[in-house]
Symmetry: C2
């Protein structure tokens, strides 16, 4: 096992800035630097945090310098100083960067916006850490897919999962850009059923019988999923709750505790001093959960900005073989990020 | 058969004002008057339309007179001049009025906010018109339940329905009061699964195997339902669409036609010169609808302000035996209100 692995983060947006922060919190990782193409407040924050800042190319390097940002060089320079790149550039841009990573003979991780084929492997820590060990690259699946894998894997491990059907209420846009892409006073269904998240979950676990439908809703806090699961047999509510609680990144919330909506759960995360009010866990309503015969009904929240961060950290450990054991990596990540298992409070 | 039946509308709110307008459009009904307790713009509109206005009691009569509204008398007076009362007062108030209707030996209809037990009969035109014939009273089920009955009855009549599971996205509040009860930037799940709509649908048709979960979303236009239905057998998409099209109050919409969200469908209704932009039909996305083996997935919109209006008109005909045949009543109502079957445009 190595001591510390040097990590570069390419793309310092919603995910990239969180990955950079998370890398800094791991005892076995070092942040070589971050790279972006813009030169506004977003990158200035990175400089303010004393993260080594690199520019995507010489043109953006010039812009950053003009904006008073201390630039260490370009992406090419950054790639010389690291062992693994986490690509957090916008959807479909990563595909163009991959060639550079491969030329520099670097391991790399892309995010869920990219296609499975870009790496040939899709990652979710509790489900398939082992198959990522030592690979050159992987794709950390998207926020929604991550939540699906976590919850259905928990049921699968308990021998309860037969078939899952979900309706996904997707936050309209991310908070930082809600002045640009917001919708108000309407709902926007995705035109096709199944929506992409079901098939995407199968890119991690082809055995899952899962079909999803999705709709955009006018809020920016988190996604909300409603599930109807056909169990393999009749089960008690307690048995199902126990299956979920065995998962390392599912935490229970209670309507009866006043956690009755997305905003209250967000406020709880802020009250727990989470950075950005981030919620890495799937927050599952335990009192709402209902078992009817061999059918299970439940709902949970997904923080689309945060849920993939611990997964990305685990993916780094798997690719670099920093840690051979999935649960050992998960426990390290959870401890570093303050992730709660079972319940938040 | 009688010639014209005299109808009173008690409660001139979101539903009451629409029922009054709809009664006026029927060749076999006459509006005796409307009754309310407030004396602001809402009732002034009724006076402006030259509807006979009655006050709930002498205190409200005095208030109305002060506000310059020409008042014909109190509810007691109105009840003397009609044969049937449609109660459109707020949730749970109707239960207190029923005694008055019974004392006046009047037939009456209550809305879906009341309990099934208040009348012992719950009504949805295409499902159980016959069982309401000549009854003293009935309850027109709520907007969501009406849509559930319509769609599931269509599948049932085609011999396709086995089991239905739905996720309901409920508009946060009605437009007229959205300055009072709105939610912004959050989602509010109902604390219990199943939500009340599933059992409510069984108050009309106990045979339905239906379970629902519901969540409030920050918009005011309409409800959006997502359904997963277990069919009795494998079926083609065309067969399912045909089953829905056989229903008299389901109209198809297409994502491919630009009708991609609640707001565009609302704008279509306004463009069709519907009063208030009302949509009496269930608007079902035909291109989104998907059949996977013997499972059916689909989504549709429900105009919570309008969908029960034609049902209420049919309920009047059933109770008063103005029309013995369900389809004959439905066709009269549909013609009077301009309801489209199959497609809007």
């Amino acid at each position: 096992m190595k001591d510390k692995v040097k990590i570069a983060v390419n793309g310092y947006g919603v995910i990239g800035k969180r990955v950079a922060d998370a890398v800094r919190l791991q005892g076995d990782m070092e942040l070589s630097g971050i790279c972006d193409v813009v030169s506004d407040w977003r990158v200035k924050v990175a400089a303010h945090k004393r993260y080594p800042v690199f520019a995507f190319d010489s043109a953006s390097q010039e812009q950053m310098a003009k904006a008073g940002i201390q630039v260490q060089g370009t992406l090419t320079d950054l790639l010389k100083s690291c062992e693994l790149v986490v690509d957090c550039t916008p959807k479909k841009i990563a595909a163009q960067n991959i060639e550079k990573y491969q030329e520099a003979r670097l391991k790399f991780i892309v995010q869920g916006g990219e296609k499975h084929e870009t790496t040939g492997h899709s990652f979710s820590a509790e489900n398939n850490y082992d198959t990522a060990l030592g690979r050159e690259s992987t794709r950390v699946v998207s926020c929604n897919t991550t939540s699906i894998i976590r919850t259905l894997t928990a049921l699968k491990k308990a021998g309860l999962l037969k078939r899952a059907r979900g309706t996904l209420l997707r936050r309209a846009t991310d908070p930082w850009e809600s002045h640009l892409n917001g919708i108000i006073n309407t709902l926007v269904p995705e035109p096709e059923i199944p929506s992409h998240q079901g098939p995407d979950a199968q890119s991690v676990d082809p055995e899952l019988d899962v079909i999803t439908a999705a709709v955009k809703v006018p809020e920016t806090l988190s996604h909300l999923h409603y599930w109807n699961v056909q169990l393999t047999r009749e089960a008690s509510k307690e048995e199902v709750l126990q299956a979920f609680s065995n998962s390392s990144r599912i935490a229970m919330i209670s309507y009866g505790d006043g956690l009755s909506a997305n905003n209250t759960v967000k406020e709880l995360m802020l009250s727990l001093n989470r950075p950005y009010g981030d919620m890495y866990e799937v927050a599952l309503w335990q009192d709402m959960l209902k078992v009817v015969g061999s059918e299970l009904f439940f709902a949970y929240l997904v923080d689309n900005q945060a849920i993939v961060i611990p997964e990305t950290i685990d993916a780094i450990r798997a690719l670099t073989r920093l840690e051979e054991n999935a649960q050992a990596s998960i426990q390290k990540t959870n401890a570093a990020l303050g992730i709660r298992q079972g319940a938040f409070i």
